[in-house]
């Protein structure tokens, strides 16, 4: 399992990360020498870096699992999946953000920060060492604070403040946890921790486990450190909200998965049960809070909290079920596609904040509604979308890991989630035909027509929404192919 190696010969293993870093630095430099209205060049460069990184990661997938740089950096199928999903996700999100940041004085910075956040996410997923975990935590946090407040409006500033304070506070918890674990074992590498921790003092272990899990739970947006999610999501612009609720979550869940599978696997504490409870509470609270939302961004924010609950189910059984790795691979990819799609629907109509506004804004765009329906039903887990396959795999893995009760809780929650997704789908679907039939028939220039034309629908996010809907179905139908790619040589 571990071809431990250090030094220069390990560099090729980090090619995907190096390409991301290269893209960030190159983008920054290119941005400096590019006129304001030609900043799209930076966008192209950043996209190219992401695609190259994804391609490099895909090529590296079938290779053997290894730990490089003295075991701090783990390259295995899970890392590979995160690399691909994050790189592609950032590439898409850069384009989604383009209409809202184009022409902005700091356009380049936005793209570069997005890239750096993606790099931090990959580091989070790949870290095989507590200190790298802390570094990755900071690298995924700091660029995101800047991105959350990018618009510099009051809402955005408030959101950033909240995000930053919460992040700093949880960062301290994480450090305390890491310190406790180091104190208990005298080492930071996962492999050594796995061997030494089972014999340590339970009190120290409890502090350590709670602190470290709080850190990853914050990045994942799970209960009880989820309070920033709705405020940041609703406060920032839709593309940034999509970024913040998609990209770091992927890395955080993968990091939690690795923690549970390796250092926390043999502890005298029941860590899987703790994660299972966090999962159950996350999905339940997320769903209950989403019920009453009329703001589409807040609704989606709570939906991401509940989605993390399902993702954490598979984390809970990381060390107990052989099916967990593949379940994580398919759910992460499905979640990323579907969630980006749902946010793209909001980004396509920047003026519409509430469900009713949105339904009115897209009254003339039937295809948008249709793609949104696919994405939202995808988030519910309706077959044959990708999240359905992910949910199925997660349910199977959780039950296989002796958490049948959690499967029942998740199934009940899935029904509950349907309710609020339908609250969005129903007016959007019914509003579409209502417009031509009631307002257009005899009177051509009704007030509705004026309102309809006043609402612009942005092209790029709309294309992303369609692509996400198609991708979600394709990934669901082609789940077998994706799984055989993602499992690599395992």
């Amino acid at each position: 399992m571990t071809g431990m190696s250090g030094g220069a010969e390990a560099w090729p293993a980090l090619l995907p990360e190096a390409l991301l870093l290269l893209g960030a630095v190159g983008g920054l430099l290119l941005g400096l020498w590019t006129p304001q209205r030609r900043q799209w060049r930076v966008r192209l460069l950043v996209t190219a870096a992401c695609l190259a990184s994804a391609a490099a990661a895909a090529l590296a997938l079938p290779g053997p699992a290894e730990r490089v740089f003295e075991g701090t950096w783990v390259v295995d199928p899970t890392t590979g999946v995160v690399r691909i999903v994050v790189a592609l996700g950032v590439a898409v999100l850069v384009w989604m953000a383009a209409p809202s940041v184009a022409g902005h004085p700091r356009e380049t910075e936005a793209y570069v920060l997005m890239l750096l956040g993606g790099l931090g996410t990959v580091a989070l997923a790949a870290s095989g060492d507590l200190l790298l975990l802390v570094a990755a935590y900071l690298l995924t946090s700091v660029p995101l604070y800047a991105l959350a407040g990018f618009a510099k409006d009051p809402r955005g500033t408030e959101a950033t403040m909240k995000y930053y304070l919460m992040g700093a506070f949880v960062g301290v918890l994480l450090l305390v946890g890491v310190a406790a674990l180091v104190l208990a074992s005298g080492t930071t590498g996962y492999v050594d921790l796995a061997a030494l921790l089972p014999g340590a003092s339970p009190a120290l272990l409890a502090v350590g486990v709670l602190g470290v899990l709080a850190g990853v739970a914050f990045k994942a947006g799970a209960v009880p450190v989820h309070f920033w999610v709705p405020d940041v999501t609703a406060g920032t612009t839709p593309p940034m909200a999509a970024y913040i609720t998609t990209i770091p979550k992927i890395g955080a869940v993968a990091a939690a998965f690795r923690l549970l599978a390796e250092p926390f696997a043999g502890l005298p504490l029941d860590v899987p049960m703790l994660v299972a409870v966090i999962a159950a509470v996350s999905m339940t609270l997320g769903n209950l809070a989403a019920f009453a939302q009329t703001d589409v961004l807040r609704l989606l924010a709570y939906s991401t909290i509940s989605q993390v609950g399902y993702l954490l189910m598979v984390v809970a059984v990381a060390s107990r079920s052989d099916l967990a790795v593949s379940a994580l691979a398919v759910y992460l990819a499905g979640y990323a596609i579907t969630n980006i799609g749902a946010f793209a629907a909001v980004a396509a109509t920047p003026a519409a904040r509430t469900i009713t506004d949105w339904a009115t804004a897209v009254a003339r765009h039937r295809w948008l509604v249709m793609s949104l329906v696919v994405c939202l039903l995808g988030l519910v887990g309706t077959p044959p979308t990708a999240v359905f396959v992910g949910k199925l795999a997660v349910f199977v893995a959780a039950w296989d890991g002796a958490l049948a009760w959690l499967v029942v809780v998740a199934a009940v929650n899935t029904v509950a989630s349907l309710f609020y997704y339908l609250r969005w789908i129903a007016p959007a679907f019914a509003g579409v035909p209502a417009a031509p039939v009631t307002a257009e028939g005899p009177v051509r220039t009704g007030p509705r027509t004026a309102a309809g034309t006043a609402q612009e629908v942005r092209g790029t996010p709309a294309v992303i929404l369609h692509a996400a809907a198609v991708g979600s179905v394709l990934l669901g139908v082609g789940a077998g192919v994706w799984l055989s790619v993602a499992s690599g040589a395992d």
């Binding site: 099916l323 593949s326 379940a327 249709m370 039903l377 309706t382 077959p383 044959p384 359905f388 396959v389 199925l392 795999a393 349910f395 199977v396 039950w399 296989d400 499967v407 029942v408 199934a411 009940v412 899935t414 029904v415 349907l418 309710f419 339908l422 129903a426 679907f429 019914a430 035909p433 039939v437 009631t438 028939g441 005899p442 139908v477 789940a479 077998g480 799984l483 055989s484 499992s487």
Partner: protein, 535 residues
């Protein structure tokens, strides 16, 4: 391969409809009719080539038109479809009923293109469910039928359609998730870890752990009971039916309810034989309660469509009675249990045809008076003789008059179940009497006496004529619209409506007079199921 074409041809047509925004409404419906007709022809061809009972009889082997492809290898879920004596009649029923709905909707004024696309999508989902031989594939199609029907009710329903659609979606979605949990239980309980129905039925999982087997059966049974629907999970049904458009109701009652009962025969009985035997009495009791509950509540309705909806609960109760009796291995011989199973299967087909026809007929009430209330209608036999005749035939068929398919079905259910559970069977016969009474009462109220029709203005504030329909109708039917609302205003069934309803009734009659057509296909498969249950 042929089966794949049958399943996905409607979906392809739906894709064409969605992708062609310029298509006129009539052309869209024309494409729908054509696609459904071709699909029915293909099913007919399959039936023609299908040779029941030669050697293996179905369920675990001898499946025709089988396709088995890998889908999600880590959990061994695949695209496995095939046809046997259980699924072929229901595939044919799906083809027939959807074609009838297509013909019935020829003049659909409200967004006909989307409407046709939705129904075609729904048809693919229904055909896929019946053809599936893999639990996950079954679940995929099963869920898609819910999604499709939700949009049909929410988009084209009347009254409180949004609420009814939501209720329908939530109830059946809960059911489908219970089903999924049960399926995962089967997967994890099986020796070789597979979702393949054939493999699971050949080597039943959880045979040595009665508690786990019982719980898994509970989850699956719950999921299917919501869909069927059985008492006490039937409360979504009357609302969904009342507010759905006529064709939607026909599909909902005729096909979608069968997904539930079909699931019992295809999944619960062969894959969990031990648990089914143990809990067969529960199925019998729930079946009998549904029979009586459906019948008596239907008797109390003041709304035609709600009444028909409740008779569905009653009719599905007979199916469960038959299937439950098939599980009472100790108290009945194999012959009796086979007869009960055959009767249950026959009832599925028969109910699909007759109730489908009844719901299509109920659309006439809405299009003429925007109300289904019994007290607003009367003496319709005089102004609308064809309608009255069709309604009478459908009602008599539905109450189980000899000569119609319903009689063959119910007769076999009772004959088969009598030996196993005499008391329950005798109680269930009361249901027949009540149903007969309520249908006769309904016919008497609606068709005989002085002609009364609702006044021209619908009092519920709904729009009687949609704006864009107005000019088209004005030219054609100006003579009828300007007349005062008297009895002569009422128009009989239109040509396409008659053309959609009469074949359904004719088929019910054929199956009542020549039952061997269907029995030849059903019997070997039913015998195989009974044999598998008795393991």
């Amino acid at each position: 391969m042929l089966l794949t074409v049958v399943v996905f041809l409607p979906l392809l047509a739906a894709g064409v409809l969605v992708a062609a925004p310029g298509l006129a409404g009539r052309a869209a419906i024309g494409l729908w009719v054509a696609a459904s007709a071709v699909d029915l022809l293909l099913v007919g061809w399959m039936w023609w080539r299908f040779e029941p009972g030669t050697g293996a009889s179905g369920v675990v082997d001898g499946l025709a038109y089988e396709v088995d492809l890998q889908w999600i290898p880590t959990v061994d879920a695949g695209y496995h479809i095939g046809v046997d004596g259980l699924s072929l009649p229901l595939l044919a029923l799906t083809g027939v009923l959807f074609l009838a709905c297509a013909v019935y909707s020829l003049r659909e004024p409200d967004r006909p293109r989307t409407y046709a696309a939705l129904f075609l999508f729904l048809q693919s989902a229904c055909l896929g469910t019946f053809a599936s031989l893999d639990l996950i594939l079954f679940f995929v199609f099963f869920d898609l039928t819910i999604v499709g029907m939700y949009f049909v009710i929410a988009g084209w329903g009347h009254g409180d359609a949004r609420r009814s659609a939501l209720k329908f979606f939530l109830y059946t979605f809960i059911g489908s998730l219970a089903l999924l949990v049960g399926f995962i239980g089967l997967f994890l309980g099986s020796e070789e870890r597979t979702f393949d129905m054939v493999a699971l039925a050949a080597d039943p999982p959880l045979a040595d752990s009665p508690l786990a087997g019982g719980l898994v059966l509970l989850a699956i049974g719950l999921g299917l009971a919501v869909k069927t629907p059985l008492f006490p999970f039937h409360t979504w049904l009357p609302d969904a039916h009342t507010d759905a458009p006529a064709a939607g109701s026909a599909v909902l009652a005729g096909i979608l309810l069968k997904l539930g009962t079909y699931g019992f025969v295809r999944i619960a009985m062969p894959i969990l034989p031990d648990a089914w035997q143990r809990w067969a009495m529960v199925a019998v009791i729930v079946g009998v309660i549904s029979v009586l509950w459906g019948a008596f509540v239907a008797l109390a309705q003041t709304d035609v469509k709600r009444m028909i909806a409740y008779t569905s609960v009653n009719h599905m109760g007979y199916v469960l009675l038959g299937l439950g009796a098939a599980g009472l291995v100790a108290s009945a011989d194999e012959g009796a249990r086979t007869v009960a199973t055959v009767g249950a299967m026959y009832q599925m087909v028969s109910h699909g045809l007759l109730t489908g026809a009844l719901f299509l007929l109920s659309g006439w009430f809405w299009s003429h008076g925007h109300t289904y209330a019994f007290d607003r209608w009367g003496g319709l036999a005089r102004p609308a003789p064809v309608f009255a005749a069709c309604l009478a035939v459908a009602a008599f068929g539905s109450l189980g008059l000899p000569g119609f398919s319903g009689f063959i079905a119910e007769f076999q259910v009772f004959t088969g179940a009598l030996q196993a559970t005499p008391v329950a069977t005798v109680i269930a016969v009361v249901g027949i009497l009540v149903t007969a009474g309520l249908f006769l009462l309904a016919l008497q109220r609606l068709l005989t006496g002085d002609t009364t029709v609702p006044s021209a203005e619908p009092e519920d504030g709904g729009e009687s004529v949609r704006p864009e329909e107005e000019p088209a109708r004005a030219g054609r039917a100006v003579a009828t619209t300007v007349r005062p609302p008297t009895a002569t205003r009422i128009r009989d069934l239109r040509g396409h409506e008659t053309a959609s309803i009469v074949p359904l009734l004719a088929l019910a009659l054929v199956l009542g007079l020549l039952p061997r057509v269907l029995l030849d296909v059903l019997e070997p498969a039913a015998a195989a199921v009974v044999e598998l249950v008795a393991r």
